[in-house]
């Protein structure tokens, strides 16, 4: 976390944290050398390299400024921050002047006041005088500075040449660009470059003609702008302004909370007027994002108040019946009665539940508790099953803990950064910007991915090494990398001998050194030139600090767990564990993947990854819960589907997860859902799964509840309620009520009480409490007696299993292979503007960037098939057929095609198979053999989908408009 030296503190070894609501003018200096200066007669000691502007701000002396901000390098263009320095001539800009030992600075004199007023007069002579009707009225730095310098007149008048008639660019759905109000301070341009790293903005022209433009003088919408909002945040006037503020006015209060999109876990200030959310402003005090944001977290919150929100509980006897609005009590009683009836007829193990990685820790904890204690079985699973379950298995096996090892900030000390099967600039954009910052500083990038991801095109970064492997050959490549490290003597023998199990290491070393694992032997398998693999291995192993970041391109394979272990092997072999700059870092797709796994969502593990067959562990939970817990693992999600089709699994409670759209082999999932007698969906919309449901319980968005999320760094962040839950109950309250209806009592008054219970039962959480979270801001677990304030970097001195365990990672080709009939390999992923199944982002203006899923195909594959950009393409696999528009792309090698699954009608998962990881059943989304051809009509599945969707919307409509008979009781 960023820190600064507090001149008021007598203890120089104990720096105080920044006040995140203060702009200190320029970034902090990281120097350990301290220098003492006097500002307006006040002595201040600050790190060498600190600007005079910042030193003054740290001492509470506010020098006027316009072009400076503490998230941007000093620029020195506005000259408003001029000061006088004893012994120096003129009026240096305090933002670009570093402090020096013994320096004496004066920030206010008559001459300085005159100079500053003159600067402001020049600015205002070319600025509209419409403060009273300006959207930034009351929140404008230019206005503040006019007041600060005592501006009383503009001697230059307003009749000269000006920019007041320039047109506003309203092309971006979320913010407008009004150049008539621009003072050309360049903060937006620098924010786009330094904070976001996109370099979409520039200053065009010289002198009076200077103006901010996007890309090649394009509209914002047509430019390279990614709508992260950094420019809007940086703008000191209303030139760049959120349209919600233009419409509604300046917010009057704010609440700090945590974004519910990806696994970065950005902190935001939800700025409100009453109970209306006006804007989300990235919070500088958020340790994960430090004031930055992306288009999803910053702007795509409109879904929370979308007309499609489910506002009342509903029930129906069968999925062919209309939904009927009922009271909470009726819905819960109906659910409990059906679930009990199923268990009476089919047995205790015939029902189960699915927790959500979108919900809070407290909510996932309660769902798994409900399943284990109230349902009386361990049939609980989570959507992490289909994304990062191999991470849990692989990292626990090798290093003893199912979690990433680092903070995000750690990357700033990495000399080489390896990104495997991940696309951070799209899927984890705020961390992607941090990565790009480090790449611009000179770190070497290695990308292992079938696609050429945008990180490889980072402006002002060095040339990255791209290992464009064939889908399904990850393990072949990671073994080849390890082979080079072992055979070229690049191992860290000191680390291995002191920190790793010798027997396991020797076994692994003998295996990996075999010639069949060499880059040359694996070249035919992976398609990656041996020389490139060798170059990458050396670039990883020969530097001081090398870090690995990986995503679903690692886990969603038949050897997902093997690959995770292969990654851990690489890090241990090179000693890149236990310090900043290194580590193994899974990039979690959803906001609370880490948390949902931590909270015991998997069927074999109680919270804290404690196995259900451990009698001691189980007895502690049984004592606390007052219930007997089954010692056998329960069904995983794919196993639930199989059992449903087999007729032995009949009831499912699903909180915040859309298995009908997100899970592979859609036809199989749909068949399973149709086979169930009771599907209870708790969600914010009628999602694809809810169309197969019998009970619909209104869910609450992250804005409507209290709780915590745990991000990819193991950082537990507070989620704070900013508006009332739309149906009166937060999600944890709904689960609690369902449990009570089932006869298993749950009584909590606040999620903090649930966290207290978690802390009492989970060794890695014993020190976590809401009070401590308020005190520290966030906590990276483990947080216990040994690590009372959490643990930013894991495995510093040892592993939870004592010694690190190398694992033999034999490469096995997937059964899903290309053939004459299915000659192409389909791989799937995500894009920046949409999130997962899209149920949230599709209900925002983000859809303007991505209205439909397309199939990216290499021009040579397209030419062979007579395919042109925009053609309808039929995509056939061994399990299904769907139709998408073609988009020619050279991001992939010939033979590989790519799509996303953000739109349900696309049917991307109609073609993916139910092949899965050998250890965890995580689906093999990343490899599907397909054929594509030009077609003229949607697939049969798509036609059926459209009909079914229309029918289900019709069954919902009367209930949504309160046209249905209130509180009617369907036969059950």
């Amino acid at each position: 976390m960023l820190q600064y030296y507090d001149p008021n503190s007598s203890d120089t070894t104990n720096p105080q944290p920044l006040n995140p609501n203060t702009d200190y003018g320029t970034p902090a200096s990281e120097s350990k050398t301290l220098v003492s200066v006097a500002v307006d007669g006040r002595n201040i000691t600050v790190p060498e390299g600190t600007s005079v502007l910042r030193a003054a701000a740290l001492a509470g002396i506010n020098i006027p400024k316009l072009c400076a901000s503490d998230n941007l390098e000093a620029f020195g263009s506005c000259r408003l921050c001029a000061v006088e320095i004893e012994g120096r001539r003129g009026y240096p800009a305090s933002c670009t002047t570093p402090v020096a030992e013994g320096m004496s600075v004066t920030t206010q004199t008559g001459k300085l006041a005159k100079l500053r007023r003159n600067i402001m007069e020049l600015y205002i002579s070319d600025h509209p005088l419409d403060c009273l009707t300006c959207p930034a009225n009351g929140d404008c730095e230019l206005q503040d500075m006019a007041g600060a310098v005592g501006l009383r007149e503009v001697r230059y008048g307003f009749d000269g040449e000006n920019h007041l008639d320039t047109q506003t660019d309203n092309s971006n759905p979320y913010f407008s660009f009004d150049p008539s109000k621009c003072i050309v301070c360049s903060r937006c341009v620098r924010a786009c470059a330094e904070v976001q790293g996109t370099f979409a903005l520039t200053i065009e022209g010289r002198g009076f003609d200077s103006k901010v433009v996007a890309s090649q003088n394009d509209s914002f919408m047509n430019s390279e702008c990614v709508s992260c909002g950094a420019c809007v945040q940086a703008c000191p006037t209303s030139t760049l302004m959120e349209k919600t503020v233009i419409d509604a006015g300046i917010p009057e209060h704010s609440v700090v909370t945590t974004c519910a999109y990806c696994g970065v876990g950005c902190s935001f200030k939800a700025e409100m007027k009453g109970d209306q959310l006006i804007r989300m402003v990235p919070y500088k005090g958020g340790a994960a994002n430090q004031g930055h944001s992306c288009v999803k977290g910053r702007f795509a919150f409109g879904y929370a108040t979308h007309k499609d929100r489910i506002k009342e509980p509903m029930i129906r006897a069968s999925i062919d019946d209309p939904w009927q609005v009922v009271s909470w009590d009726e819905a819960l009683a109906f659910s409990a009665k059906r679930l009990k009836a199923i268990q009476a007829q089919y047995g205790r193990e015939s029902i189960g539940g699915i927790t959500s990685s979108r919900c809070t820790n407290e909510e996932t904890y309660l769902v798994q508790k409900l399943v284990r204690a109230a349902f009386g079985n361990n049939n609980t699973d989570t959507c992490a099953r289909v994304c990062h379950s191999p991470t849990g298995y692989g990292l626990k096996t090798t290093m003893g803990e199912s979690a990433g090892t680092q903070t995000f900030d750690s990357v700033m000390k990495a000399d080489t950064i390896v990104v495997i099967g991940a696309n951070p600039t799209d899927a984890h954009p705020v961390f992607g910007s941090q990565l790009r910052r480090r790449l611009r500083q000179g770190a070497q990038l290695i990308v292992i991915d079938p696609r050429r991801i945008d990180l490889l095109s980072t402006p002002h970064a060095g040339k990255g090494i791209h290992l464009a492997l064939r889908p399904g050959t990850n393990v072949a490549v990671v073994n080849a990398l390890a082979h080079v490290i072992v055979t070229e003597g690049l191992e860290d023998q000191a680390f291995i001998s002191s920190r790793c199990d010798t027997e396991a290491y020797n076994r692994w070393r003998s295996f990996i050194a075999e010639q069949r694992n060499s880059p040359e032997a694996m070249e035919a398998v992976s398609g990656v030139p041996a020389s490139t693999v060798r170059e990458a291995a050396r670039a990883y192993a020969e530097v001081e600090n090398a870090a690995i970041y990986y995503g679903l391109g690692v886990t969603e394979h038949s050897q997902g767990s093997t690959m995770v272990m292969g990654i851990a092997n690489l890090a241990m072999a090179t000693g890149n564990i236990g310090r900043e700059g290194g580590g193994v870092n899974p990039l979690r797709g959803q906001n609370n993947v880490q948390g949902s796994c931590d909270m015991g969502s998997f069927p074999h593990e109680l919270p804290g990854y404690q196995h259900v067959n451990d009698d001691v562990v189980r007895s502690r939970f049984e004592a606390a819960w007052g219930a007997t817990i089954d010692h056998e693992p329960g069904l995983r999600i794919p196993n639930m589907f199989d059992a449903a089709i087999a007729g032995t699994f009949k009831g499912l409670y699903i909180q915040g997860e859309d298995i009908a759209q997100s899970d592979p082999n859609t036809q199989h999932v749909e068949a399973a859902l149709r086979a169930l007698d009771c599907v209870i969906v708790q969600d914010i919309f009628l999602n694809e799964t809810a169309k197969f449901a019998h009970v619909l319980l209104p869910g609450s968005t992250f804005l409507e509840k209290n709780g915590t999320f745990t991000n990819a760094e193991r950082r537990i962040n507070r989620v704070r309620k900013v508006m009332a839950p739309i149906a009166g109950m937060e999600d944890w309250q709904v689960t609690m009520a369902l449990s009570n209806a089932l006869g298993y009592p749950m009584h909590y008054n606040h999620p903090s009480e649930i966290m207290d219970e978690i802390a009492a039962l989970t060794p890695t959480f014993t020190g976590v409490s809401y009070d401590k979270l308020e005190q520290l801001g966030s906590i990276q677990w483990p947080c216990n007696d040994k690590h009372p304030e959490g643990m930013p970097t894991m495995h510093v001195n040892d592993f939870p299993i004592g010694k690190g365990r190398f694992a033999v990672t034999e490469y096995l080709a997937t059964e899903e292979r290309s053939s004459r009939r299915f000659p192409l390999l389909l791989t799937t992923g995500r894009i920046l503007s949409q999130y997962n199944v899209g149920s949230q982002t599709r209900r925002t203006d983000n859809s303007k960037w991505h209205e439909q899923d397309v199939l990216e195909i290499h021009p040579s594959d397209a030419e062979l098939r007579g395919i042109h950009d925009g053609d309808w393409l039929g995509i056939s696999s061994r399990v299904g057929h769907t139709v998408l528009r073609a988009q020619l792309s050279e991001r992939m090698l010939p033979g590989v095609v790519y799509t996303t699954f953000h739109h349900p009608g696309s049917g991307a998962n109609v073609v993916t198979t139910d092949n899965s990881d050998w250890a965890t059943n995580c689906p093999e989304y990343k490899v599907t053999a397909v054929q594509v051809e030009v077609v003229s009509q949607p697939s049969e599945w798509q036609r059926n989908f459209k009909r079914f969707d229309k029918r289900q919307q019709k069954l919902l409509k009367p209930a949504m408009h309160n046209e249905g008979s209130q509180h009617a009781k369907p036969t059950d």
């Binding site: 009386g376 049939n379 050897q559 056998e632 199989d642």
Partner: protein, 84 residues
């Protein structure tokens, strides 16, 4: 029980074995596979694969059959069946 469910269980077991052949001789591989199934499979899945091994052993590889025998022994060693 459905054919598809059984074929998926067979596939899963054989996949576990294939990914652990490096563990040593057949007996060692079978032990690893049995332990994995014991730790991660639901009771009903274990019972189905045990039943299959008893009724249609030809559908499983030799190592898989060995693993199922070991699995059965592990299951016997567990606490008495669960009664909430």
């Amino acid at each position: 029980m459905s054919e598809q469910q059984l074929s998926n269980l067979i596939k899963m077991l054989e996949q576990i074995i294939a990914n652990n052949l490096h563990q040593g001789e057949a007996a060692e591989v079978a032990e690893v596979a049995a332990t994995h199934v014991h730790n991660f499979w639901a009771r009903s899945m274990k019972q189905l694969i045990i039943n299959l091994a008893n009724t249609h052993p030809e559908q499983l590889s030799t190592v898989a059959l060995q693993a199922v025998v070991l699995l059965q022994a592990k299951s016997v060693g567990q606490p008495a069946s669960f009664n909430p």
